[in-house]
């Protein structure tokens, strides 16, 4: 199953995503289809604030999780995933800024990468949860680079939403189901 989860900063989207991933993982175990539960962290531990944010997230997660840190090449990791694995990507916004600003990805290249993740999930029959952030509802930014980033992120969101079975917006920790319902 492909799941897309988004919301504002500190809206509880990570917590909700982790709970959803954990319940898919436990459900698989009950049915004796043992998979692994992976957390793919796209953020780099480059500054103090990020280290603190990462620690908070790590403390929240239980021992069931295997954490993989990867800022760019998620295809490499996803291509090794097996049936019934549950993979949580946290988050798309940071991945996109990594590849756009450090690897000079065009929107087309980013879209190809994301489409590749989605195909791998479908073909490999593992659960893929993608967490992102809504950054497009403020005043329109005059800065060209920021505007291009927001546009690209929105395009990726729509690509993922189209191919997701479950689409959730999280506000104040409360999920709104835009597509599918559990």
């Amino acid at each position: 199953m492909i799941i897309f989860i988004s919301g504002g900063a500190r809206s509880g989207k990570s917590h909700f995503s982790e709970q959803t991933a954990l319940s898919l993982y436990n459900q698989g175990n009950e049915e004796n289809q043992r998979g692994c539960l992976y957390y793919i962290a796209t953020a780099k531990t480059s500054d103090e604030e990020m280290v603190e944010r990462i620690q908070i997230h790590q403390q929240d997660r239980g021992k069931e999780w295997k954490t993989v840190e990867e800022s760019f090449d998620l295809e490499r990791i996803l291509s090794t995933c097996k049936k019934e694995d549950v993979i949580l990507i946290d988050c798309l916004t940071i991945w996109l800024s990594n590849v756009m600003f450090e690897r000079d990805y065009s929107l087309k290249k980013a879209e190809m990468a994301v489409n590749c993740w989605l195909s791998l999930a479908r073909e490999g029959q593992f659960h893929l949860l993608i967490v992102s952030n809504d950054v497009n509802a403020g005043i329109p930014f005059p800065d060209k680079a920021v505007l291009t980033y927001i546009y690209s992120l929105q395009r990726l969101h729509q690509t993922i939403v189209e191919q997701s079975e479950l689409v959730v917006e999280v506000q104040a920790g409360i999920p709104t189901y835009w597509k599918g319902e559990r």
Partner: protein
């Protein structure tokens, strides 16, 4: 009258194109003026108007009064509403949600954001259908 509102690049235009038949577009992004609606609206089509924040931004440079600008648009919505009843063809207003970021540093940006919010409320009040667009999906609010 229908209001379609959502954040930047959220897929508002696509939703309108996918759900509504033949449209006459008046778009600030194509350098149209709001006053063009009367001549642009072809017989038997749905009138779609978009780019409000650009027209509002232009008003800000000529008028000091937020209330005056708001009244101007409120009167326009009323005219559109009546014309819609008369012609028996629909009007769709596409508006940009821009009130969910941090408070802008520049005064003109704060004004723009405030007025756009009020104008959206006025449009919603006159509309019998209001849809919120999020990542290519739409949810009916009214």
């Amino acid at each position: 009258m229908q209001l379609v509102i959502g954040g930047a690049f959220s897929g508002k235009r696509k939703i309108v194109k996918d759900t509504i038949g033949t449209c006459s577009w008046v778009s600030a992004y194509q350098e149209d003026r709001i006053a063009d609606w009367e001549t642009r609206w072809l017989h038997g089509t749905t009138l779609v108007i978009e780019g409000w924040e650009k027209w509002i931004a232009d008003e800000l440079t000529t008028s000091e009064s937020n209330d005056d600008i708001r009244s101007l648009y409120k009167a326009l919505f009323q005219t559109l509403f009546e014309e819609e009843q008369r012609r028996k063809n629909k009007i769709v207003l596409i508006m940009l949600e821009m009130g969910k970021g941090i408070v802008p540093l520049q005064k003109k940006d704060r004004r723009l954001r405030d007025i756009a919010g009020w104008i959206a409320q006025d449009a919603a009040q006159l509309s019998d259908q209001v849809d919120y667009v999020w990542n290519g999906l739409a949810r009916r609010l009214k």
